[in-house]
Amino acid sequence: MASATRSRDTPLAVLVLPSLLMFVTFAVVPLFGVVVLSFTKWDGIGAILPNGLGSWRQVLADPQTWRSLWLTIMTMAVTWAVQTPLSILLGTFLAGHQRYRALLGVLYFLPLLLSSAAIAIAFKSLFDPNFGLGAGLHIPLLSQDWLGVQLAFPVVLSVISWQFIPFHTLLYQGGVRQIPVQLYEAAQIDGANRFQQFFRITLPQLKYTIITSSTLMLVGSLTYFDLIFVMTGGGPGNATRILALDMYIRGFKANQMGAASVIAVFLVVLGLGMALGVQRLGGRDKTASQLEGM
């Protein structure tokens, strides 16, 4: 029996190899590469020279690093706080089987199809202070300088939420549909109204969907590069220069790959920290099963 198990274990392990090879080469190795490169000096073209803690000192002493870190944390917090309640409500709404809701669902998911570049360009023209929607309709309230220093950051966060709410709505729709109908029937017999049903049944039952969705959202918020890059390029000034953009600008604009790698280390640590934190909040013992059930 033992030998039989072993003999079929080997070919199964082989099946993982192509996937593992790609993943290790282009994801795991670069992750360690980031740490190594953060101790070097490299302009992106010439030789890579050892630089000790030089890049670290430079980055840690630069106030822009801390501004970018702050903007990144704000991005995480605000987009999570905006997207989560809206996605839960929309997901619950779409889980209903009314026909008009199915139709609305088809339209709700349209933003999923647009690339970040397309969304950024569309909203940039929409928010244009001279010819955009507000200016064209001659509504003063809507004719703000939306992408100016004051408003650019909140506007960008709103557009990010607009882009990603559909995906999370989808997750919650699936989550709500898996809640046993009997729970609602029992609640109705007990005279619970919709409000109570939502808070006493739907929300608690969505616990694991909330963990999954939040993990993806928080880790994802570290990677909102494309949209901000096309919409504002980190500006005006440095008003929207989140860490991912800061890394790109340092590495590929200022040709300081060492400094960019230091920022990359920040990003990795933040990402892993967020993921672990969310899992911990959701209950330590459930972590494994939750991740497997994701």
Binding site: I121, A122, L133, G136, V268
Partner: protein, 293 residues
Amino acid sequence: MTDVKQASTKNAKSVRDTGSRGVGKPNLLAGFFGWFWLAVVIIPIYYVVVTSLKNQGDYFTGNPLALPIPPTFEAYQEVFANKFGTYFSNSVIVAVGAVIPIVLFAFMAAYGIVRGKGRFLKFCNGLFLMGLAIPIQATIVPIYLMITKLGLYDTLPAIILPAIAFGQPLSILIISNFIRDVPKELFESMRLDGLNDWQIMWRLAFPLTSPALVTVAIYQGLNAWNGFLFPLILTQSPDKRTMPLGLWAFQGEYTVNIPAVLAAVIVSTVPILVLYVVGRRQLLSGLTAGVGK
């Protein structure tokens, strides 16, 4: 505009509830909220569509939400005179070149992880799960270094290879959930028929997980199609631009011609829209079953 809307959403939020199960009397509040959200989603898209059908004069002077009567296709001519054909075929190559290996490799790995035992497979599973938590952007500098050393800078494989790697974790997760749902008895009966693991994988697991495979293919195809950062740092010549990068370059050149820029937005989205119309049910149901448990 969005800010205003979100503020008003928040006021309604505390009382908004959803009689989502479709029982009892109609839920007016939920209905109102649903139509309101539709406006939030549709108005920007509607704006893009109508503006792309106007000429520049109308754009500067007319009501931005007015229907373009008669519609003009000047903007689209502008777009097609550009290199969007090249961008389109580059994006197709990147998407297909990434998706086929992603699905194939991830399927084999998922099968190995679900059906096999042993420390090595456990370790791989853990590694891939951890991969979900890593912000891909963080690896751009080493990836740029590797790609230049491999002599692949400014080629399409430069975009494809990292995409295959980063597509693995989520794909393996979704597919292994489907393989777990296949009743054990089916595997056992095929084994009793004398089939080995390799045969069982292709004859049993592959057809039974095909919904998940289609889901993964569409989802990863979408990612590859819409990817921006890797094409940005790993290519430079206009001939190698993918659709989003081409779109970005186009709006850089045509800053003043907004109808043309927005027409380009539409042209870049139409292929995906077609895919969505064809595979919507598959994509949405697969995603919810695979990720949203």
